[in-house]
């Protein structure tokens, strides 16, 4: 029973309580750069989740073999391997998605969420728990990217996943799909998340 509760807590914490984007402000490069549409956001989120889960599980599997002196080199090699695999898989699924994500697929190697989870969790815990922790963080990252992408595409292009939302008379706010729009939306979302968290904390204190 205790084990189930630990697994659930590990998985859920990455989704909201320790959300890599909304709470830790990690992975800002893809968060701001590729969230100009829903499909780009979801593709980047899922590709990162794949790399996160695979590398965390392999690092956890090899954790007792890797001496601390070479851990960073080992982690980076494992992460780079799965990024290369993800790169091939995305090309095999859709060249269009591959082109729209561009250089940011290769940049998953230096996404600090992955290195962060490897250092702080996978190198100290079992395979199953590390996989769950990585899945939680990966889906938390995907959720954050999806929120950003949905808001930016709806306001900046008048569409959601390519489907028109407001009709042809809508004049899109182009700034929202430009880099500065990324900063505006991220700032607004951080404000909302912090207000929600503060209110929940106050309600719990009163209770």
């Amino acid at each position: 029973m205790e084990k189930t509760s630990l697994s659930a807590t590990t998985f859920l914490s990455g989704l909201w309580k320790e959300n890599p984007v909304f709470v830790f402000l990690l992975g800002m490069c893809p968060t701001l750069a590729v969230t100009n549409s829903v499909s780009n956001s979801l593709s980047m989120g899922l590709a990162t989740t794949f790399v996160l889960v695979s590398s965390s599980m392999l690092i956890s599997m090899l954790r007792n073999l890797i001496p601390p002196q070479v851990r960073i080199a080992s982690f980076i090699m494992i992460i780079a391997t799965f990024v290369t695999v993800a790169d091939y898989i995305i090309q095999a699924i859709s060249i269009e998605i591959y082109r729209s994500l561009g250089a940011f697929i290769a940049l998953i190697v230096v996404n600090c969420i992955i290195m962060g989870r490897a250092e702080s969790f996978a190198s100290k815990n079992g395979i199953w728990l590390s996989g769950l922790d990585a899945l939680g963080s990966g889906l938390g990252f995907t959720l954050a990217l999806f929120c950003m992408g949905a808001i930016r595409e709806v306001i900046g292009n008048g569409t959601f996943a390519g489907i028109s939302v407001f009709g042809p008379s809508y004049e899109p706010w182009v700034i929202m799909i430009l880099p500065s729009g990324g900063f505006f939306v991220l700032g607004a979302l951080l404000l909302v998340v912090n207000v929600i968290n503060e209110r929940v904390k106050k309600m719990r204190t009163k209770a």
Partner: protein, 209 residues
């Protein structure tokens, strides 16, 4: 002594991880090779139709010898050759830029261009795909042949933004000078070789009719 053991352990661990990485990368490469190639072929054929306005379908013609490569002959509703799409590539600012351009043998002009692959700097070099003014260069760019059809009458040239005066000149992009010049250079080098070859092929094709 213990230091030697630790050194070996470190080397062994890194070696083991390198082997695991190698196996994973090579396996995924082999498994995805065919679907990736199929996807790329589909994308290039769709791009060929895009750079050949008026074409309803394309046929791939493979070239042998020193000019080995492929051409995409576009046909209109009445099964007449409406244009030929040619793949070209050259060194850009960040990496190789791959493009496909459409050529009308009848009008002897370039009728369209699409960037297939580019890793140029986002916001600067990627204007070669996004800048409407730059893209407009390639809708009627002069590729006239000389008298004996052995080469181009005028070699393509890239000018500074807004300085284009001739039909064979390409208006460059301010802020993406290197990338726009790279596109001009790769088009100039490719067109000077390929356009005479295409002209001979089209002539032979009409001769057979």
């Amino acid at each position: 002594m213990s230091e030697t053991v630790t050194s070996w352990k470190m080397i062994n661990t890194l070696g083991l991880i390198a082997v695991i990485s190698g196996v994973l990368i090579v396996t995924s490469y082999q498994l995805t090779l065919k679907p990736i190639q199929a996807n790329k072929d589909l994308m290039v054929q769709a791009a060929a139709l895009e750079v050949l306005p008026g074409s309803t379908h394309v046929k791939v013609v493979r070239l042998d010898g020193p000019d080995a490569g492929r051409l995409f002959f576009g046909y209109d509703d009445s099964h007449q050759v409406s244009g030929v799409a040619i793949e070209a590539q050259g060194q850009g600012f960040a990496d190789i830029i791959k493009v496909i351009y459409g050529y009308s043998p009848k009008r002897q002009v370039m009728i369209g261009l699409k960037v297939l692959e580019s890793k140029e700097t986002p916001g600067l070099g990627d204007k070669i795909e996004k800048d409407a003014k730059f893209c407009a260069n390639f809708t009627a760019l002069d590729l006239s042949l000389n008298a004996d059809s052995s080469g181009l009458l005028h070699s393509l040239q890239v000018t500074k933004s807004g300085k284009k005066t001739e039909a064979w000149q390409i208006d460059g992009i301010t802020g993406a000078t290197i990338s726009s010049k790279a596109v001009g250079r790769l088009l100039q080098s490719n067109s000077s070789t390929m356009i005479p070859i295409i002209a001979r092929m089209v002539e032979g094709y009409h001769g057979k009719d």
